[in-house]
């Protein structure tokens, strides 16, 4: 039971990150590597603020905004300075590593003795984390779904499809790309903030591998829900995250070492991404 609960908890909290990855990779079709930096940024800002005695809710809001700022930087590098999207993301991520250490002042901040947002939900006992993560997830799914149905949401989705068309409809694709990156990285920093409060510490290296984990979640979600409208596409990223955490938990119980997990995740993503191509090869060889 506790196994299922912790899987669900992790699936939900990391699902926020999966939503962020979904927005950059799938909605605006931008392979954004800022993720690993902005995830840690959210955790670093939160840990610093909470251990300085700042209210957790306020800390979360500041983390969210800081993530948006990281996305803005990547967007600026790509759309204004014309740096390719992969490199723009890598540059921001690398810069953020130093910035995160500056913010934290050391590589690890424990905050087990400080009040976290989860403590507001202590009345729910063992279901404290699930209740909070579940509520915030429902809110974010509805918010994201609403946003993607607005005119601005349409413009972002079209940008990921066909930038030429978006420009000929009088919309500046630099704006839509940057806006997508801001929202995506704000979500990811929010996930970082909540994860740090959930596990009770922030660490400068906690972002490593988060991008591939987020991507795995999005891809698993896509496989599970094929034909779908936007609401289901958003939900599928979250469900993908829960399934992914479940798979990780299973891998651990059958004896894999925790340090093997990133390798397993990478292999999982490679298989999922190459499936359509492999299918073609198999079909044409028959």
């Amino acid at each position: 039971m506790s196994f299922a609960i912790s899987t669900l908890e992790q699936g939900l909290v990391y699902g926020i990150m999966a939503l962020g990855v979904y927005i950059s990779f799938k909605i605006i079709n931008f392979a954004d590597l800022t993720v690993e930096g902005s995830f840690t940024l959210g955790a670093a800002v939160t840990a610093k603020l909470i251990t300085s005695g700042v209210n957790p809710i306020f800390s979360i809001i500041v983390s969210f905004l800081a993530g948006g700022l990281a996305g803005l930087v990547t967007g600026f590098l790509n759309t204004k300075l014309k740096i390719t999207e992969l490199l723009a993301g890598i540059l921001t991520m690398t810069a953020l590593y130093s910035i995160n250490l500056r913010i934290m002042g050391k590589s690890n901040i424990p905050m087990l003795n400080n009040k976290s947002i989860l403590d507001y939900f202590s009345f729910a006992g063992n279901y404290r984390n699930i209740l909070f993560f579940g509520l915030i997830m429902i809110f974010l799914v509805l918010l994201t779904n609403y946003f993607l149905q607005t005119r601005t949401g349409f413009a972002l989705r079209a940008t990921g499809n066909n930038q030429q068309m978006v420009r000929s409809m009088g919309i500046n694709t630099n704006t839509t790309i940057t806006l997508g990156l801001i929202i995506s990285n704000a979500y990811i920093a929010l996930a970082g903030s909540l994860v740090s409060q959930y596990q009770g510490f922030a660490d400068a290296g906690m972002g490593i591998g988060t991008l591939v984990a987020g991507l795995a979640s999005v891809i698993i979600g896509e496989v599970l829900f094929r034909e779908r409208n936007i609401l289901w596409a958003v939900i599928s990223a979250v469900v993908g995250s829960i399934v992914y955490r479940g798979a990780i938990a299973v891998a651990l119980t059958i004896g894999f070492n925790p340090t093997d997990l990133k390798l397993l995740t990478a292999i999982l993503v490679v298989i999922a991404l190459s499936l359509p191509g492999l299918k073609k090869i198999v079909i044409s060889s028959n």
């Binding site: 149905q149 601005t152 079209a158 499809n161 000929s168």
Partner: protein, 263 residues
């Protein structure tokens, strides 16, 4: 309406591959004109439309649309004045979005980004009505993703989207060239209907000389970056043979376009 003044454009400037497409080109279009553009290979027909649309900047000269100097405007800003349909049916629509979502983007063209819902009862009713006018049955498939439509259907939708906001200027860049002849005829008829109903000022590049003569009230023929023939009142009595003969007389060379359709 549209005024190009002393427009010059080179590609690969200051390299051995430098290619000067236009040198001091002057070209004017009056309000309500429907101009068909034909020309030999490399005459600069598509480049002309791209310069007007702002896909790339001019080297020198100016472009005015309705007395607004748009020379320095980037592409997305010029779209305020311009509706455009490309040769490639894939370029005008967003494939993973539904028909009504695509139309919504066209419908709110120029309104800027906002948090208003993209679709509501009112605009969906309007989309349905406009789609029905195309006569392709798309009004019953508004929730279909555009990527599932045929090239002709997508091109018809693109045409509707490009003209939704009644642009000051409509640019058609061989927009039926990638379609089979039957579908091309349907799209041409729809094009003509939309243009005449809305009295749109239009530039249409085509390789089909019959179409070039059949549609529009003015024809220009281009050759090596120059406008060598520009006929308005005489257009009615022209035939393809006469047109080719005139081209030959002004140029001293034969009209060469390996994609041209004479029949």
């Amino acid at each position: 309406m549209l005024k190009l003044k002393n427009v010059s454009k080179s590609f690969y400037k200051n390299t051995p591959n430098e290619n000067q497409v236009f040198k001091d080109l002057n070209f004017e279009v009056e309000d309500g004109d429907f101009v068909t553009i034909v020309g030999s290979n490399g005459a600069g027909k598509s480049t002309l439309l791209n310069l007007i649309a702002g896909v790339y900047p001019v080297d020198s000269g100016s472009i005015m649309i309705d007395d607004v100097d748009v020379t320095s405007y980037p592409e997305f800003k010029r779209s305020k004045f311009i509706g455009r349909v490309f040769q490639n049916p894939l370029l005008g629509t967003a494939p993973s979005m539904t028909i009504d979502e695509n139309l919504s983007i066209a419908y709110s063209k120029g309104a800027g980004l906002s948090l208003k819902m993209g679709l509501n009862k009112k605009n969906r009713d309007l989309f349905k009505e406009k789609l029905a006018e195309l006569g392709l049955g798309l009004e019953n498939r508004m929730k279909t993703k555009v990527g599932l439509l045929s090239g002709g259907q997508r091109q018809a939708l693109t045409l509707l989207m490009a003209t939704f906001a009644k642009p000051n200027l409509l640019l058609l860049d061989e927009h039926t060239a990638a379609l089979d002849p039957r579908t091309a005829n349907i799209i041409n008829e729809i094009t003509n209907k939309i243009i005449s109903e809305n009295n749109l000022t239009t530039l249409m590049v085509t390789h089909n000389l019959e179409h070039a003569l059949e549609y529009g009230n003015r024809i220009i023929m281009m050759h090596q970056g120059r406008i060598v023939l520009d006929l308005k009142d005489e257009k009615k009595n022209l035939t393809v043979q006469k047109l080719l003969k005139m081209f030959n007389e002004v140029n001293g060379s034969d009209f060469v376009d390996d994609r041209v359709m004479l029949a």
